[in-house]
């Protein structure tokens, strides 16, 4: 009798634990469910399952797109495994995923390798997600600062040790800068944010930032760090004098942010300014017309452009094995770059929507996706 009781209780416990786990998983996706039930921008309804692997930075946006796409297309599901940009690019090359999310576009050798599985034209890159990276600081009573690339680089290298340094004062006439130690805080985990921020510094202030752009912060630099965007923001919020770089959506309001010197003026961070900087970028050399890979011009002087920005891509094949898969990819990517898709991502992940020009370019590229004849 005792034994059966135990068995029953154990069974109930297992079921309860399972149910809890399921609810826990389900709540992840709930955040991004759009209110409307419009159909996908492509018009035709598609069914089937699409598998993607890639960057974790777009995780929140991806959840929102999955939910929005599934609502518009009953019977179509998108699976996305946030294993990292590198894993995603590898998966599209070896054919184990139908699209990849990546914080960087395919390199030339990766493009060549993708021709084995993605048809003679290989894979193409579609920009889907733009995120401005803020230089955020915690200085009591100072909410805005004007900085140029060299000053930012020096702050993060520890070459400017105090906020009342003449280099900062020269750029900020009229601002009372306190005698406060500078504590640079970087990401402790490998991240696309770090990679884009160091890319900006290496391009715009090469004489100060002598390290190469990378997802991992240079180990030789002594500084504080924390895990994830939320970690660095929390650390800076708690530490007077600290400065970090983070997704603008995570800092707005809590910390001071720097305007960055572009040309002769200082540009405040905003979604529009980020989109402008991406638009100012050039198409990557030697790519097909339908590849929307963008070589960001970090040294841009375009008016109102904010060049510290992260662009995340979806990498898709130009040719798929079957028409069903090709249609599904087209429908999904069309939804992602559409006004509705970009708004969904902006609501869920506070990303900056793609500009009209980029949207049109991406849509034209998506139209060229086809099935094997």
């Amino acid at each position: 009798m005792k034994a059966t009781h135990f068995g029953r209780n154990a069974a109930i416990a297992v079921i309860a634990a399972g149910a809890l786990a399921l609810t826990a998983c389900g709540s992840d996706n709930a955040t991004g469910t759009p209110a409307g039930t419009q159909s996908a921008a492509s018009g035709t309804k598609v069914t089937g399952t699409l598998t993607g692997i890639g960057a974790s930075s777009t995780g929140a946006a991806m959840d929102a797109w999955k939910a929005g796409f599934a609502t518009a297309n009953q019977g179509a599901t998108v699976q996305y495994s946030p294993d990292g940009s590198g894993a995603g690019r590898k998966a599209i090359i070896d054919g184990s995923a139908q699209f990849a999310g990546s914080d960087a576009y395919l390199k030339d050798d990766e493009l060549a390798a993708s021709k084995a599985k993605c048809g003679p034209e290989g894979a193409i890159n579609l920009p889907v997600y733009i995120s401005p990276i803020a230089v955020a600081f915690n200085i009591p009573n100072v909410k805005e600062l004007k900085l140029d690339a060299a000053t930012v680089a020096k702050l993060f290298r520890g070459e400017i040790a105090n906020w009342n340094d003449p280099a900062i004062a020269a750029l900020n006439a009229g601002v009372t800068l306190p005698d406060l130690k500078v504590t640079p805080v970087n990401r402790s985990d490998d991240s696309g944010t770090t990679s884009n921020f160091t890319d900006y510094l290496a391009a715009a202030a090469p004489e100060v930032w002598t390290d190469k752009a990378a997802g991992v912060w240079p180990a030789s630099l002594k500084g504080e760090n924390a895990k994830g965007t939320s970690g660095v923001v929390k650390t800076v919020t708690d530490t007077p004098g600290a400065v970090t770089y983070a997704d603008d959506s995570a800092v707005s309001g809590k910390l001071g942010t720097a305007s960055i010197k572009v040309g002769e003026e200082f540009v405040k961070i905003s979604a529009d300014a980020a989109a402008k900087a991406v638009e100012a970028g050039k198409p990557v050399d030697g790519r097909a017309a339908n590849d929307v890979a963008i070589k960001l011009d970090r040294k841009t002087t375009a008016a109102g452009a904010y060049p510290v920005v992260l662009v995340s891509y979806h990498v898709v094949c130009t040719t798929y094995e079957t028409k069903a898969v090709a249609d599904l990819v087209k429908a999904f990517e069309t939804y992602v770059v559409s006004d509705e898709g970009q708004k969904t991502a902006a609501d869920a992940a506070k990303s900056a929507p793609l500009s009209k020009t980029l949207q049109d370019k991406a849509k034209a590229a998506i139209e060229t996706i086809k099935a094997k004849a």
Binding site: A55, S85, G86, S188, D189, S220, G241
Partner: protein, 310 residues
């Protein structure tokens, strides 16, 4: 019939016996298979990192140059945790077993066990969001007054997210393990030994020193070893608390890294050889924890006849 009814059962009972012993053996073998599977996976996946040319490993000087500082960092964090936790845990265990009134003792034991039930990510969040901030003035004081000792060399971290903070958080996490094992052992001290000591005129403290602690020593050592195993492998709490960096002697500056946190922080975006490198780091941690646990087991078995911890 000359069979002994105590050792052999008859009829229907025999089939049940076979099924049960088979099931138990399968369960036992499964554990071995899982352990073997994990070890095999680690070794196979680690080989590319171990054989790769040194310049292709992160840092550019080969796997051993990469792993050595974080092995030392892991040991530093674990040693800090044990240095803080062991005296407190033994004190709490003695209080519960020999000093506290019975009602208070059971309540206190329950509270200590509750500490073990708190998820490590909660400890990490607490350490990163609260403890680090509150403790950083103390680090400033240490740097100003004891800065001549290398481990307290300044300038102290402004965020307080140092290896010492990580060690303090770890010490709270290993406290319940050491406490509950030690308490069980102290409670098993033969009553005759204790009474004999008291009858010879020993005070309560002398009785503990003469009867309880010598009896419990192997048990305490193995409790510490199990705590060490936990401290070495702890991932989330360290990843959240520690502001990692290169190997640094000063405990109150940012720097140092542990293997588990290194893996957790870099695995999600790793690809290619980087994955193999991280798995090889995991293999090193696996070997270290396996070694620690085997030493703990060995100490327990060596003192089997005296210790209650078997």
């Amino acid at each position: 019939m000359t069979t002994n009814s105590l050792t052999t059962s008859q009829g229907a009972g025999r089939a049940g016996d076979k099924v049960f012993s088979g099931a138990a053996m399968a369960a036992g073998c499964l554990i071995l298979a899982v352990l073997f599977g994990v070890a095999l996976f680690l070794v196979v996946q680690a080989i590319p990192a171990l054989t790769a040319p040194p310049e292709s490993i992160q840092g550019g000087h080969g796997f051993f140059a990469y792993i050595a500082p974080i092995v030392v960092g892991t040991l530093i964090a674990a040693v800090i945790a044990l240095v803080i936790a062991t005296p407190v845990a033994i004190g709490v265990a003695l209080f519960i077993s020999h000093y506290a009134p019975r009602r208070l003792a059971s309540g206190l034991g329950y509270v200590v066990d509750l500490l073990a039930a708190i998820p490590s990510v909660v400890y990490g969040a607490w350490g990163a969001a609260f403890l680090a901030k509150e403790i950083s003035p103390a680090y400033d004081w240490l740097a100003n007054n004891l800065g001549w000792i290398p481990i307290f060399a300044g300038p102290a971290s402004a965020t307080g997210k140092t290896i010492l903070t990580a060690g303090i958080v770890l010490s709270v996490m290993v406290l319940p393990i050491i406490t509950s094992l030690s308490r069980e052992i102290f409670l098993q001290t033969p009553k005759l030994h204790e009474e004999a000591a008291l009858a010879l005129g020993a005070t309560r403290w002398e009785m503990i020193k003469m009867a309880v602690l010598p009896f419990g020593r192997p048990g305490i050592v193995s409790a510490i070893m199990l705590g060490l195993g936990r401290a070495l492998g702890e991932t989330m709490a360290v990843a959240l608390v520690l502001s990692s960096g290169v190997l640094t002697a000063s405990l109150i500056q940012s720097g140092n890294q542990t293997i588990a946190a290194e893996i957790a922080l870099n695995f999600p975006e790793a690809s290619g050889l980087k994955v193999n490198t991280l798995i090889a780091a995991g293999l090193v941690l696996f070997v270290i924890t396996l070694g620690v646990n085997m030493i703990a087991r060995w100490i327990i078995t060596r003192h089997k006849e005296f210790s209650g911890a078997n």
